[in-house]
């Protein structure tokens, strides 16, 4: 069975600052990151859709002990954002001092840009991720 939206297609779009997801033609749920079946009803009757990349911070952490190869990024903030279309997405938060982030960030509105992890000897190539910043 063919993928409606593969990792490669999702990744290439994100590198162009476009966030692609899947809208279910049966139940209307938006699925992102992509899966082969709707995250709600498991239908495979899906359309590729472009998402706003806007939403609210659900939770965060600032990472001080980093994986091998990520030393130059330390410290960095990871956020999980609930997109306006419903799904949760993981990314980094920029435009703020990582050491100054507190739980007050939770619930704040953010918009999406992107950054690319160039990959390391263990990964299967480069991988983009959302780079969020506070709205307004």
């Amino acid at each position: 069975m063919e993928h409606k939206l593969s990792f490669k297609e999702y990744n290439e779009a994100l590198k162009q600052n476009k966030l692609l997801g899947l809208k279910c033609k049966q139940c209307g749920t938006v699925t992102v990151p992509p899966r082969i079946a709707c995250s709600e009803c498991t239908s495979t009757d899906l359309d590729v859709t472009e998402l706003s990349g806007k939403g609210k911070v659900q939770t965060f952490t600032t990472v001080f002990v980093v994986p091998e190869g990520r030393e130059s990024e330390c410290p960095y903030v990871i956020v999980i954002v609930e997109l306006d279309e419903g799904p949760w997405l993981m990314g980094n938060l920029t435009g703020i001092d990582p050491k100054a982030v507190t739980m007050d960030i939770m619930g704040k509105r953010v918009k999406m840009g992107h950054a690319v992890f160039p990959g390391d000897k263990y990964s299967a190539g480069d991988e983009a991720r959302p780079l969020f910043s506070l709205e307004g």
Binding site: P33, V63, V65, V66, I78, M90, V116, A124, A128
Partner: protein, 391 residues
């Protein structure tokens, strides 16, 4: 389905970096388990071994084949289980099912890991491989990072001020070290204070050093036998009365449940139902305290306390010996250590020793029924096992 018992257990001392390979560590534990079971290596019909990161730590894939040969159980079927930190619990559950089905009579389950050998940067990288490499790792997620995200969600969902939650978490670590100091097999045999925890360096906000389990080297092994065989081998068979296992996708896919882990609730429900037991029937639990918050989240989901109230229960001493549910008398992952492939069957080791009354200063008096809880990844694998005295 036949009744199945654990008839022998073994584990190495858990430690930081040392010179033995995973196969050597496994073999030490395995021979202790074989000797305790009054068996010979050739009596073992199959091996189910947990090992998650041997490829990276030692350049060693399929250690289970070499382990079987090394201990003298040559040529038996040997399978490796890679379920991240829950590897040997998944191995144990499958071993149980094969014996219960009647296909085998005597099977070894266990695991080994040399995670400390990798050093912190590589270990942090390879542990993160158990998160989603496409949609989580590009953001730089780490395992403390996962539980840091969950900690903030937990504080917000249940309206617990972070400072108060951090104090409860610190008490979890203090308890772990208290018991670890009484376990000769523990990596850290040293008590700590709440102050020590709150002064530790920040790993992933809000988790500090002592909120986190260490990287560890170690091995563990147990032998499962059919009831008929078990009765001939030991007068203290420990029966496997309930097992459960469930999986989940990446953290993002768990949005409807977090900070609860759905895979735990499903696995625990299976284990309780199979055993015909409920949380109030459990006398002692070894649960997956990879991070201090993880204990609090687990106690909620396993049904020991109301959601959001497990931290208060820790404050009241209800998770200590003599409390409502003694938690991790071994010292847990935090203090005993967490050589990930060995962790699940090391939890079984502790529960079997507790049910046999062999734990000295850290003994839960009169324990008849015990439980284990092992988490792999960010909810990707969850196993629960319930064990009961057979005498």
């Amino acid at each position: 389905m036949r009744k199945v018992a654990v008839v022998g257990v073994g584990m190495t001392k858990f430690s930081g970096k040392q010179d033995k390979t995973a196969v050597e560590l496994f073999a030490e534990a395995a021979m202790d388990a074989i000797n305790e079971s009054n068996l010979k290596p050739k009596d073992i019909q199959a091996l189910f071994m947990g090992n998650a990161l041997g490829d990276f730590a030692e350049g060693q894939a399929q250690p289970q084949a070499f382990a079987a040969d090394y201990i003298g159980a040559s040529n038996i079927p040997a399978n490796k289980y890679e379920n991240a930190c829950a590897s040997s619990s998944a191995a144990f559950r499958d071993a149980f099912m094969w014996v219960a089905s009647g296909f085998y009579d005597i099977v070894m389950a266990g695991g080994a890991e040399t995670a400390a050998k990798m050093g912190t940067p590589l270990a942090t990288r390879t542990f993160a491989m158990a998160s989603d490499s496409r949609y989580e790792f590009p953001s730089g997620i780490t395992f403390p990072g996962v539980f840091a995200l969950i900690t903030h969600l937990y504080a917000k969902k249940y309206g617990i001020p972070l400072e108060k939650l951090k104090h409860q978490m610190a008490l979890v670590s203090v308890n772990s070290h208290y018991y670890g100091a009484r376990n000769p097999k523990a990596q850290f045999q040293k008590e700590i204070t709440v102050d020590d925890v709150l002064k530790g360096f920040m790993v992933c906000q809000p988790l500090q050093l002592y909120d986190c389990c260490p990287f560890s080297d170690g091995g563990s092994a147990v032998i499962l036998a059919s009831e008929e065989k078990a009765k001939k081998l030991t007068n203290k068979p420990v029966y496997v009365v309930g097992v459960g296992q469930a999986s989940a996708g990446n953290l993002l896919s768990q949005k409807e449940y977090l900070p609860r882990l759905r895979s735990r609730e499903l696995a625990a429900e299976q284990a309780y139902k199979m055993a015909g037991l409920s949380p109030k029937d459990i006398d002692v639990i070894e649960l997956h305290d990879c991070f201090s918050t993880a204990t609090i989240v687990a106690l909620d989901s396993l049904g020991f306390f109301e959601y959001g109230k497990s931290g208060e229960a820790v404050e009241k001493g209800e998770t200590k010996l003599g409390g409502k549910i003694p938690v991790n008398p071994s010292g847990g992952l935090k203090s005993k250590g967490h050589p990930i492939g060995a962790t699940g069957t090391a939890q079984i080791y502790e529960i079997v020793k507790q049910l046999r009354g062999e734990c000295g200063e850290r003994q839960v008096e009169g324990a008849k029924t015990g439980m284990t809880d092992t988490l792999g990844g960010d909810g990707g694998t969850l196993c629960n096992i319930i064990l009961k005295r057979g005498w």
